[in-house]
């Protein structure tokens, strides 16, 4: 039986179960914390760092999606420091990839694009890295455009945790990190991919999309995930 704890978020008294994360409890109380890599129905990895919050008494910022609540915790989600870091993080996502919204399949429906608006990014003040990244069109129905990938690893997790195929993984290190299919072979040759399209739909940007979609034409459906998880747990 889980224990109820009480804590403060932004000086408001709230309560939650001790096995819940700060993000869970904040959402239960309608307190907004921005997230990019987190997706209901998947495990949390704290990859994007957008859900960073301040906790009184801790000298480092913590990711709300992975840190559990504790009795007497005092959490702050909207300090000036956090706002500045969030803007900076989104700017860094833009500057390290090749994000050209105007010719993107998800223009107008992109989580990165809307997050930029939400955290107040008006210009990318950092120099663009303009990396040379690859595109794999070999799959019969889908395309991976690594130019638009922000390494949230939602595709890796959904393929492993929900579909059970584990086609996706990360390859390379540091700035060279990128998502790969199987052992870095072409997606079209993958013996493990079931073609279920879950990775395509959980991808927050236009990095994964259905072939044949033109600019602005890709709408992603993610609402199925929590149901899938729930139904599988029942069995």
């Amino acid at each position: 039986m889980s224990v109820v704890v009480t804590l403060k978020i932004n000086d408001i008294d709230v309560s939650g179960q001790e096995d819940e994360t700060i993000l869970d409890v904040a959402r239960e109380h309608d307190i907004y914390i921005p997230t990019m890599c987190h997706l209901d129905g998947l495990s949390s990895v704290g990859a994007c760092r957008l859900c960073l919050v301040e906790v009184k008494g801790m000298n480092r910022l913590v990711t709300a999606c992975t840190v559990k609540v504790a009795e007497g915790m005092e959490v702050y989600t909207e300090t000036e420091r956090l706002k500045k870091y969030r803007r900076m993080l989104v700017e860094m996502l833009f500057s390290e990839g090749n994000h050209i919204c105007s010719v993107c399949v998800v223009n107008g429906r992109c989580e990165l694009q809307s997050m930029a608006g939400r955290v107040g990014v008006q210009h990318i003040t950092l120099p663009y890295y303009n990396p040379l990244r690859t595109l794999d069109t070999t799959h019969e129905r889908f395309v991976i455009d690594r130019n638009r990938c922000i390494l949230c690893t939602r595709c890796v997790r959904v393929c492993d945790e929900i579909e059970g195929a584990h086609t996706w993984d990360l390859g390379g290190r540091g700035i060279e990190s990128h998502v790969v299919t199987d052992l870095n072979t072409f997606w079209g040759d993958s013996p493990t991919c079931t073609g279920c399209s879950k990775c395509v739909h959980v991808c927050p940007t236009g990095a994964l999309f259905e072939k044949g979609r033109s600019v602005t034409e890709m709408t992603k459906h993610r609402e199925f995930l929590p149901y899938l998880t729930m139904m599988r747990e029942k069995k």
């Binding site: 799959h139 395309v143 033109s214």
Partner: protein
């Protein structure tokens, strides 16, 4: 002492160019060149992209004619998919293309060229712009803005936005037309037509004042090229390539657009980023030809709509329809044609059909799309790999076809107006105006970055710049 005259930037055109005029020791024009000083690189950086992105990527070549690039690109993609676009999908594309032609021609005539025509070639440069027109003839400025706005509003109603709409897709268009929007468009047609006819009449009334310009604005014999339909009439979206000679006699007809490379070669000159296409059987540079409104009206059997047909007959009754000065009149006739044709398309009840798009995977590794842009024939030629990624793109943009002719035109005007090395602003403006008559879109045709400057340089035989006029 000989000198070189440089016009840099050439003003009131889309893109950057400079002109150099080489004078001999006696002060006579020895040589003249139009330099296109910018590079864009679209053909190269699209390599690797999925072909379904191409229409929207290519539309970014231009903010004035995004629709033209959408058309040619989408048609090349249709060819890659090897599908037949549903009839309504085709007609909706036609509708947008005509709206584009009307708005772009209005921009060229009223905003860019009318200052020379209304205020005179020798008017002070500070007056030679749309504001000068608004002062001298407010009605003209208003009507020009209005024609453009009707065209742009139709594009917006069809595609969701005026510039770079993502509505034209491989296989057709991605949304059918609603009756409400159709009715709004229809309501604007009579006004557009009336305004176009009003200024066509005005221009017919005054153009004789420009007899010297008519005689010298690239009035040399060239071939003309453009698309025609099955009956040999004016066709902006589809059809067959036709080449006629300077006397209007058909040289080659019924060329399927995908066979363009049989007849068109592409040459490169060291002084310009703009390539010089030429008619292959006559070689380079002898095989020069012109495209655009003047070419189209010189090569078609008829326009195919009543008022435009009437105007075309009158136009041809004039002498010397070869002069590039008549690009202006041709543009106005084509605006009339566009409104008449749009009306016809909108009157067809089938325009509201929901069948507007064909779907398919890539079925052909090579695709060619050709359509008429406001400035002339536009060719997009793509190659893809089996999985649909671009491996090669070749673009021949309308302005490029006119490159050799523009260079000759500059030479002709410079020779006629520059005597004994004497140049003044009015003369320089005429040199620019010959370029302007072609309404070149240099940002389209060279894939470049930046703004359009004009400089005229006068150079001695050793190549040293003796005089320079800058704007």
């Amino acid at each position: 002492m000989s000198q070189r005259i440089v016009i840099d930037p050439v003003t009131r055109i889309e893109g950057h160019a400079k002109i150099t005029i080489q004078l001999s020791d006696g002060g006579e024009v020895e040589d003249a060149h139009l330099h296109i000083t910018q590079i864009r690189g679209f053909e190269k950086f699209v390599e690797g992209r999925p072909f379904h992105e191409m229409p929207s990527l290519m539309a970014r070549i231009c903010g004035i004619c995004p629709v033209s690039h959408l058309m040619a690109s989408a048609k090349a993609c249709d060819a890659l998919m090897a599908v037949r676009v549903p009839r309504t999908g085709t007609n909706l594309r036609r509708l947008m293309n005509l709206a584009q032609i009307a708005q772009s021609h209005a921009l060229s005539f009223f905003y860019l060229s009318a200052p020379d025509l209304l205020l005179g070639m020798d008017a002070p440069p500070i007056k030679r712009n749309l504001f000068g027109i608004a002062e001298a003839n407010p009605q003209m400025a208003r009507d020009g803005v209005r024609i453009r706005s009707i065209g742009q509003q139709i594009i917006e109603m069809l595609g969701g936005k005026r510039i770079h709409p993502a509505w034209v897709v491989p296989g057709g268009v991605n949304e059918p037309l609603t009756a409400e929007k159709r009715d709004k468009m229809l309501a604007m047609m009579p006004e557009g037509l009336e305004l176009a006819l009003r200024w066509l009449d005005w221009f017919k009334g005054i153009h004789e004042q420009f007899h010297e310009e008519i005689a010298t604005f690239a009035s040399f014999p060239t071939m003309f090229m453009g698309l025609v339909d099955k009956q040999g009439n004016l066709e902006m979206y589809d059809g067959y390539l036709r080449f006629v000679d300077a006397d209007g006699k058909i040289v080659v007809d019924d060329v399927p657009p995908e066979e363009y490379a049989t007849y068109i070669g592409e040459a490169v000159e060291p002084y310009s980023y703009l390539k010089s296409p030429y008619y292959k059987p006559l070689g380079y540079p002898g095989g020069l030809y012109r495209v655009g409104p003047l070419a189209r009206l010189n090569l078609v059997n008829a326009c195919g709509t009543p008022l435009a047909n009437r105007e075309l007959t009158q136009f041809r009754a004039r002498a010397n329809t070869r002069s590039s000065f008549y690009f202006h009149i041709a543009r106005l006739i084509e605006i009339v044609y566009s409104f008449e044709k749009m009306q016809q398309l909108l009157d067809d009840p089938e325009i509201l059909s929901k069948q507007v798009r064909a779907y398919a995977a890539p079925n052909s590794l090579e695709g060619i799309g050709v359509s008429e842009a406001p400035r002339g024939t536009l060719i997009h030629h793509y190659k893809i790999n089996e999985s649909g990624a671009m491996v090669h793109a070749n673009l021949i943009i309308a302005t490029g076809h006119n490159n050799i002719a523009m260079n000759r035109g500059v030479m002709q005007v410079a020779r006629h107006f520059i005597k004994d090395g004497q140049v003044n602003d009015g003369i320089l403006n005429r040199v620019e105006a010959v370029i302007r008559a072609y309404d070149p879109c240099l940002s389209c045709s060279t894939h470049a970055i930046g703004h359009m400057p004009l400089l005229i340089e006068v150079v001695d035989p050793k190549g040293a710049v003796v005089a320079e006029v800058k704007r």
